[in-house]
Amino acid sequence: MAREVDILDEYGAEIGAALGFNTTSNSTKPLSIANALFRSCLRTICDTKDIHEWIVSERRNSDRILKSSEIRDKYQHILVRGANESIDDIKEARFVLEQVFNPDSTVYPSYQDSVMNIPSRWLVRPSFKAEARIGDFIYEILSCPINGKASPAIELIKAALKDDDDDISRLIKPILTSAYKDKERILDVEINIQSISLNSSKQAIRKGFDNLTANMHYTGQARNSLLVLKRMVNYAAFASYYYLVDVNNAEYKGDRIPLLLDSFSDLDAIERASELCYIACKKSVEAYAVNLLEDIIRRERLVADITSVDACRAFIKGMPLKSAKERKNARDALLQYFETFYAGGDEPLRALSRALQFAIYTFTYPNNTPSDFCRVLGTRAGLVGPGGGAKFKRLLIHRFLLETIVLSTVNLKGMPDGIELRELGELLRSQYYILIGTDTDKDYSLLDQAKIAQDAPEDLRGELASNARSIADMLITMGLAKRYADGVTIIGWGL
């Protein structure tokens, strides 16, 4: 059967390709990003089906899961009591192993769909859909030569992955060494690295990785391989979120979105303003898609005259769509969206692009919009909260991510005397457009420009300073800052 051509699907795919990763999978978890990033760094994958057999315990009901009696028979050569090992003990052990190796719910009865939380090279498996290309996207940024050199983050990650003597990896050593020799388990893979140019958002991300690496070495965190991996993946997840939000500015000079971080201090105006920033983030992603669609339409010249309403209507009426979409009246809906946007004052091309964007995320990706992606990835990265089913989300910063972001922004080695909190605020603003409230006037005016301040409660200006103080409190407890009684907080290491 001939493949059905569908403009909405094709444009949807083009958005993903232009962006560098897919924003349409809600199942993307930090571990999915880790798998792809680590694979690109190591250029190897591992066969760990036997570990998977062990750790998928019988608490789940699936035919694919081996019973503990089968595990005993199959693996009796790595059991001290061999065939006499108690089934109940094996069952219990598998249950606790599952807790250790599946903390993020990324392990399923199917080995092909699973990625296990092994903090070493044994984690890395072939590509799977939920990776959404994010790990590859990050690796492309890391490997892009700057002054002829790739990011030092790659070497740091590789070194951390090679260390498999940590407590968690030790738990699976008998399984790892039982069935294959190392070289049979580990397969080399070809990595298709696209040569990219770094736009301003990617430059900020690259700078972040480079700073993070230098600071982890400087603070001694680089000696802890588990922490290296966690920190790098945490930053990668944040970076992909940041890229989504900022790419419209980088590529189309769209408005930069202020990211007002809420320190979780019960500040009403901050909460509201941070909620509005979060909404603006999602709108920015949509604005990028619309701008990109405009480019595509111009480039493809499928619309006879992009300044003509009738030509746009004709394009919609004639565009190829899959029969399934036709059955859902996608064309009529698209036409209706177009008419609404046009009537609202948009130019024909703009109205068409907005209508297409709307239709793509209604009919092609009905359950996985970039907005949902932002919410899910942001929450897992520690940027968006509260978690669970909270109705209103905001940029509620997790302390681990805050530390990661700060380490990606400052140069601790270059500032042995430290810098003021105000200066950190400037660095965060300049690198990511992150606001924490360190400069009330400047931060307020940026929120005002973004039309966020107007919709927040009146005392936003006053609460910005309180928010900055709470952020500083978090940094102080991490050993990254010191507060003097004259109210000034200095950021630095070993102060």
Partner: protein, 521 residues
């Protein structure tokens, strides 16, 4: 201005800025401190003295009190770096460098932030000065023995001076000074007379000191301005013409509004309850043991008129009882146990046996952070957990190693030898490996210490902030990389189910598993 007016204005900063005081007033307020002796010694030895601290710590006061001597010696003085603009900063540094190289003394008083700016600016302009400054700064407070040699520069950080130092508290000196000064005002106000008399009583002073000792365990730094203001308010607010203000010192102490008083209010005796005593104090049955005479009226007598008034009187009597009744010890013992125990820890660290007991308690609480049912106190377990998803808590942790309590040391900070005379109370402990200068260190500030004490007393570990768990985890992970980390033996590995507080043992011997746990935890 008479003495009463002068003392009254010490509250909330009025009259607390030394720049605005006359020489007579400076002399009036003079309360001897170890720091003055240190500054004198350093100036005599022609050292570059940096007197740093926070606003109200007494930097200007110390300089002004020595002004004549300093002038005689021709010492270059910069009384307030706050007033030095960025443009003028380099001039100040040049003058310091001149003194530095010409073996002349100078005194620079700077709040902490201007001092930070000075250090930063000196990096380019005077690297030698900068390096020495950084070195001295890092060695002012030490753990154990230090070989650091004082050269040209000394930094006296008044932020480290704890005026509530248990052994050298300035509180009795200040009270005594105020009592002396207020004798001039005898007969002006009967309550003022009462306060002055009461505050000459040993029991009252002891109870006051106990209260300040508890406040010292808050981990906050209080400037001399706060202490002066608090005691001034407690003693003289009775002379303010406002019927809403509580008059007697024992009430006033808990009703003022400066930062120190907000901490004191946490230990208000009103918050302590012993039902039988409360009943006696309400009914007027507690008539013995009062040093300043029993209360003339009891709450029960007011019940019919106004319950509100009766309650107000009850609170006042309870405070009076706390300070002035010889049987008040029972009430003092009810102060929050995490604070009182915290205080006793710092007192008893000198004894090897006590130190061991404290270390074991801390080890047990740290172990319980990861496994709430763990009774282990001789071995600090090294727990590892790993997850990438920050939206959920990691439920499982693994431990294959521990560090024996015998290999760990518990030390507390002390000022370096040339600062020994400074009033100082340690506000943190450090756990480190014995006999290892490069050992990973865990600094346990009083907040963490109180948290660990609470865990020892059965509070859930989840109440302790995650940031502390992170700090402890980083410390134990760093210990794991040292030779002090030991395997449990027999290939034993522990897995904690943190949500349930349960634990499973797995053994790996000769690369083979054995899952038989051998009993409940």
């Amino acid at each position: 201005m008479n003495s009463l007016q002068f003392i009254k204005k010490l509250y909330n900063g009025k009259n607390c800025y030394s720049d605005s005081l006359t020489e007579d007033e400076i002399a009036l307020l003079h309360i001897p401190s170890g720091v003055e002796r240190i500054v004198e010694e350093m100036v005599d030895a022609n050292r570059i003295v940096f007197l740093t601290g926070n606003p109200g710590d007494g930097k200007t006061y110390i300089i002004r009190a020595m002004e004549a001597k300093l002038a005689q010696k021709g010492v270059y003085i910069e009384k307030d770096m706050n007033s030095v603009t960025d443009e003028k900063m380099n001039d100040v540094i040049r003058k310091i460098v001149e003194c530095y190289h010409n073996n002349k003394s100078c005194i620079i008083a700077a709040n902490e932030f201007p001092f930070f700016k000075l250090i930063r600016a000196s990096r380019e302009l005077a690297p030698e000065l900068h390096n020495e400054l950084i070195n001295v700064k890092k060695n002012v407070i030490i753990y154990d023995y230090s070989i650091f040699q004082l050269r040209r520069i000394c930094i006296i950080d008044l932020n480290e001076r704890n005026l509530l130092d248990k052994d050298r508290s300035m509180v009795p000196s200040i009270v005594s000074k105020f009592v002396e000064l207020l004798k001039d005002s005898a007969g002006v106000n009967p309550v003022l007379d009462y306060n002055v008399t009461a505050l000459q009583n040993k029991l009252v002073i002891d109870q006051l000191l106990r209260l300040f000792n508890l406040v010292a365990m808050s981990g906050e730094h209080f400037a001399i301005r706060d202490v002066l203001g608090t005691l001034a308010y407690a003693m003289t607010t009775c002379t303010v013409d406002d019927e809403d203000i509580n008059s007697y010192y024992y009430d006033a102490l808990f009703s003022g509004e400066n930062e120190l008083m907000s901490f004191i209010a946490q230990f208000d005796p009103v918050l302590l309850s012993k039902p039988s005593l409360d009943e006696q104090l309400w009914n007027g049955e507690k008539t013995d043991g009062w040093l300043m005479g029993a209360p003339p009226k009891w709450p029960k007598e007011l019940t019919d008129e106004s319950v509100e008034e009766a309650t107000k009187l009850f609170k006042s009597i309870k405070r009076k009882f706390y300070f002035e009744n010889i049987y008040s010890k029972g009430l003092s013992e009810l102060q929050p146990v995490d604070y009182t125990y915290c205080e006793s820890i710092f007192v008893s660290l000198g004894s090897t046996r006590s130190k061991r007991g404290i270390l074991n308690m801390l080890i047990n609480s740290m172990n319980r952070l990861f496994l709430s049912t763990d009774d282990e106190k001789e071995r600090l377990r090294i727990w590892t957990s790993h997850s990438y998803d920050l939206s959920r808590e990691t439920g499982a942790a693994v431990s294959t190693k521990y560090v024996d309590a015998l290999d760990l040391d518990l030390v507390y900070p002390e000022p370096i030898s040339w600062l020994k005379d400074m009033e100082f109370t340690p506000d943190s402990l450090v756990i480190k490996l014995k006999r290892d200068n490069n050992s990973p260190k865990l600094e346990i500030d009083v907040t963490l210490l109180r948290g660990l004490i609470s865990i020892k007393n059965g509070y859930p570990a989840s109440l302790l902030s995650r940031q502390y768990e992170q700090a402890i985890s980083q410390f134990t992970q760093a210990l794991a990389a040292t030779s002090a980390a030991r395997d449990y033996g027999d290939g034993e590995l522990l897995i904690a189910n943190r949500r349930e507080g349960s634990r499973k043992k797995i053994f790996i011997e000769d690369n083979k598993y054995s899952f038989h746990d051998g009993g409940e935890f």
